[in-house]
């Protein structure tokens, strides 16, 4: 998930509220750039810095569109640019986009909840198998001490190393399973 998408819906609603209240586009951009909308605020600040240095707002919006990887934010910038160049009905366009973003956000949360459903089972499987199977390996040299002529039994040192390595691997695997909770977070 791109950084801009976390605050996109809030920014879209802010555009809607401020433009609907009769505030001009440039003032809205300045307002958003003041902060509170994360990566979007920082990007708007860059846009306004460009405008203040004498560049055209549509050129700065085009530049920002090429900078971002977020589809939703790209769509917002394109809508703003189209409004500047063609004077479209910006408020209704942004409202439609905000509704669409809202649906996507709900979907993302549902998918996140679904993705986490199997996690307790996966963690328990790894967490259980490790400490049950691996201590047996550590005990094996003593259990099979009398049968050393019949089967190859590793020495206590090797068995201990294998047990410790296995347990460390289990902890690492649990961490990897849990990483899903971070990487798939929809950021609401």
């Amino acid at each position: 998930m791109e950084a801009e998408e976390r605050d996109l819906l809030a920014a879209l609603r802010a555009f809607d509220v401020l433009l609907g209240a009769g505030v001009g586009l440039e003032s809205v951009l300045i307002n958003i750039a003041r902060g509170g909308y994360g990566a979007i605020s920082r990007d708007m600040e860059k846009i306004m810095d460009g405008v203040r240095s004498g560049k055209r707002i549509e050129d700065e919006l085009t530049k920002a569109t090429s900078r971002t990887k977020s589809t939703g934010y790209k769509r917002l910038l394109t809508t703003l640019k189209t409004n500047v160049t063609s004077n479209t009905d910006l408020i209704s366009d942004l409202r439609r986009q905000a509704d669409r973003e809202e649906e996507e956000r709900t979907d993302r949360i549902m998918k996140y909840i679904e993705a986490l459903e199997g996690m307790p089972t996966a963690l328990l499987t790894v967490g259980m198998l490790g400490p049950i199977v691996l201590p047996l390996m550590a005990v094996a040299p003593y259990l099979f001490a009398g049968a050393s002529g019949l089967i190859d039994v590793p020495g206590p040192g090797v068995a201990r190393m294998a047990t410790f390595g296995g347990l460390a691997f289990c902890v690492f695997a649990m961490g990897l399973i849990g990483l899903k909770a971070h990487t798939r977070d929809p950021g609401v």
Binding site: A10, R13, A14, D16, V17, L18, G20, A21, G22, V23, S27, V28, N31, R34, G36, Y37, E102, R105, T106, I109, Y112, I113, L116, E117, M119, P120, L123, L124, G127, M128, G130, P131, I132, P135, L136, A138, V139, Y142, P156, R160, T163, F164, L167, C170, V171, M174, G175, G178, A181, H182, D185, V188
Partner: protein, 245 residues
């Protein structure tokens, strides 16, 4: 009895290491838990406050009067904070009072609302419509967050119970049955590794649960306590099972 328990604790270096960390961790987790509860109470009250303000504006009252009425009608944290901010506004200005309210709420949602209201006030925009739309928007956001919290909390709780309480009991019991101290196997270092594993597995689970709920900091502070409980449970069940069979 107490000396015996202390003696047993000496056999578990992981527990000895975690004991002071757990005490410190509890001290760190409690303020964060209280802050999280306070902030969710403020965020939860926001849509209702906005709706009430919108209704008051529709009835012809000014924004300042509408805020004062809302502050008086609520006896929760948000109402108290707003009331305090409005009292201070008598010495400063209404905008300064709103800014103070946003700052003291320490809530990103409130700060956004105040920022938008501030901009709308500057432009003399129709605030009734603005506040009404905000109330709907934040109501939707709050329901979505509540839904996520309800669904994810069940999983996070299950994970902590399974990994922090059940797993050390089961593994301690199995290891205690098959390799009790009476067998004389030199397993001291393996046991130490298992104590450490119990604690590490629980620590990872608690951190994951915190991340799922969006309260990583709070759960990280409480992780040493859970890790200590887990490793002590493992040791206790191992000794009990070893003595029973």
């Amino acid at each position: 009895m107490l000396w015996q328990l202390m003696e047993r604790l000496n056999d578990n270096p992981t527990a000895m290491f975690l004991l002071p960390l757990a005490i410190i961790g509890i001290g760190g987790a409690i303020p964060l838990a209280l802050e999280s509860r306070r902030r969710s109470s403020i965020d939860g009250a926001l849509p209702e406050m906005m709706e009430l303000i919108s209704a008051e504006l529709g009835a012809g009252l000014g924004l300042e009067q509408a805020f004062a009425d809302v502050a008086k009608s609520r006896n929760d944290v948000a109402g108290t904070l707003l009331d305090q901010a409005l009292v201070r506004a008598q010495a400063t200005s209404f905008t300064a009072a709103l800014a103070k309210f946003a700052l003291e709420s320490r809530s990103a949602l409130v700060q956004r609302v105040v920022n938008l209201l501030d901009a709308a006030l500057e432009q003399q925009a129709p605030l009734q419509e603005v506040t009404y739309r905000m109330s709907i928007e934040y109501e939707k956001l709050n329901s979505l967050m509540r839904l996520k919290e309800e669904k994810v909390f069940g999983q996070a709780f299950t994970m902590i119970v399974l990994m922090g309480l059940m797993l050390p009991c089961i593994t301690g019991f199995i290891v205690g049955i098959f390799a009790p101290p009476s067998t004389g196997y030199p397993l001291a270092s393996t046991l130490e590794a298992l104590y450490l594993f119990s604690a590490a597995a629980t620590g990872i689970t608690v951190t994951i649960s915190g991340r799922m709920l969006g309260r990583t900091g709070q759960y990280l502070w409480s992780a040493p306590t859970w890790m200590l409980i887990s490793t002590l449970l493992f040791q206790g069940v191992y000794i009990m099972a070893g003595n029973m069979f």
